[in-house]
Symmetry: C2
Amino acid sequence: MKKKKARELVKERIRKFSPYEVSHIDEGEIKLDAQENPYAFSRELKEEIKGTITDLSFNRYPDPSYRELKNMISAYCGLKSSNILVGNGSDELILALLIASAGEGKTVAAPSPTFSMYRILSELTGSAYREVPLEKDFSLNSGKMLDLKADVTFIAYPNNPTGNCFSEEEIEKIIVASGGLVVLDEAYYEFSGKSFASRIDEYCNLVVLRTFSKAFALAGIRAGYLLCNEDLAHQLRKAQLPYNISALNEEILKVILSKKRDILGTVELLIDSREKMEEKLKKIQGIKVYPSDANFILLKIDRIDDVIKALEKNKIRVRRFSERGLNNYLRVTVGAEKENRKFLRTLEEIL
Amino acid sequence: MKKKKARELVKERIRKFSPYEVSHIDEGEIKLDAQENPYAFSRELKEEIKGTITDLSFNRYPDPSYRELKNMISAYCGLKSSNILVGNGSDELILALLIASAGEGKTVAAPSPTFSMYRILSELTGSAYREVPLEKDFSLNSGKMLDLKADVTFIAYPNNPTGNCFSEEEIEKIIVASGGLVVLDEAYYEFSGKSFASRIDEYCNLVVLRTFSKAFALAGIRAGYLLCNEDLAHQLRKAQLPYNISALNEEILKVILSKKRDILGTVELLIDSREKMEEKLKKIQGIKVYPSDANFILLKIDRIDDVIKALEKNKIRVRRFSERGLNNYLRVTVGAEKENRKFLRTLEEIL
């Protein structure tokens, strides 16, 4: 075929689609924009990871059941291996959920604002994506969510970018009354300490998502996991690609889980840093600080453009939002002490 | 929700779906079933891979443009970076292609028999999957393929499991006359030496898939790539997840591409072994040997059940097929010399 234009070979909704945009990182930048854990692995831990390479058969396909990895996740979260799916990042699990239960003619609901990937992947799969604005205090209105009669409902717990955990009662109302899947994204679970994971057998439509990218400091290795009842897990697994996790990534995850106490030690450090930052930010005029259960803080800033300019000048990357109503907001990830100090100093100087 | 059954929460087509089945591998088995390259990486190469871990920021997200990796693939295949998509295995690229251009109401065509993932992922995405049986000599009938007016046509080149490259003329007829995408899966390109990659600018609907799992001996690291014209690449990229390749896998691929001459040395070895195997197999009674352009051989065997039993007894794994008409066939991957000898001896003893 020579005449047709290339773009006509993809569906209309793909042509109209704007992809998730991520800009290039320059050397020397302070990255407080992506909820990464600022603490790099120790030399000892890296040596242990290197050790897994010695016996790894790069030329063989991985064990597609990821048996050993699932056993270790099972020990970590206190559920059975049969309740667990592993994914190449939570994004892959979100896509699998949507392939299994959403798509054309189906509705996906989520509060707004929230993690943008729910909308992006819903649209990618042809699902109708419906948002329910959060209340002024960023609380969730279960009634409005249920009115949408969604096939899949996403709730980030704690929510990103607002940082708060919604009321347990409101979430439970949604789980109980929804006729569809309710997906609680607990990406920041280790920071909030709050989870619905123990209730997956109580509610057959409850799905919990977790990630290794945040508390476990493994954003560079794509890995997340999904928890739900055994029957549902059996069905959802069919919507995943076989061999979705590389053999080496499986080995790395096993090392990380065997050292979880050490690595998760950074969680306390980061919560401590967050609390210090919150205190100091509250003292700066022209900033409203929202309480956070995660490793980031949402700020409302009167002179946001000046602040952004000053941060850019100091090579500090934070997250701004294009959504309506969020123009004056900024989300900052809790970094290492030195990074946080530089961020605070920049704000103090400009405001 | 308590009453509904878990399985009712996923779409009917998912419930009916049988996933890609892969069985567990026991210690000491000879794996001649999955087209893996039998030659493991040298200690030196592994040391170089370990070296990439020293400076790797596990805690940071990868560069989502995979710029350096694409530059190296570009140098390898002689096309521009803007013509390249990288995937977490070719499977992920096949899924992205189907999300972009197939799905409900769309038709996917492929010859039969062929690589089973085309059917599996077509059904997963709700596309209607139509097969055109190959002719008796395993040649492709372009007319019958075009009659299906498919939105996406998959052609494995060389074909799996038959091992042959279809006629260039027949494939070209399909590309020219098809109104949809034509995907040439060149997973075994390094063994066949034949490619359509240089024609992606000539045909706007031509997509070429490649993988690192076979000739590059990297089945354990999930990585493949896709080649097509720039405009189409821009559209297809939207159907992929950001950060689909882990930062470490990117580093490993860069090491492997920098040592491509060494690693691809195994290709000649394997072609040589295949030719030897073909010669010896032809001398055994009750076997028909099909010519192969890949690292595997398709065999038609009169007393297949006896052969399979003997292979199992000797812990040699090969691939049988459940498809109608393929009951008497067996596909064997070319392994290391010692493995091939054991396979041949088993057949010689039983036939």
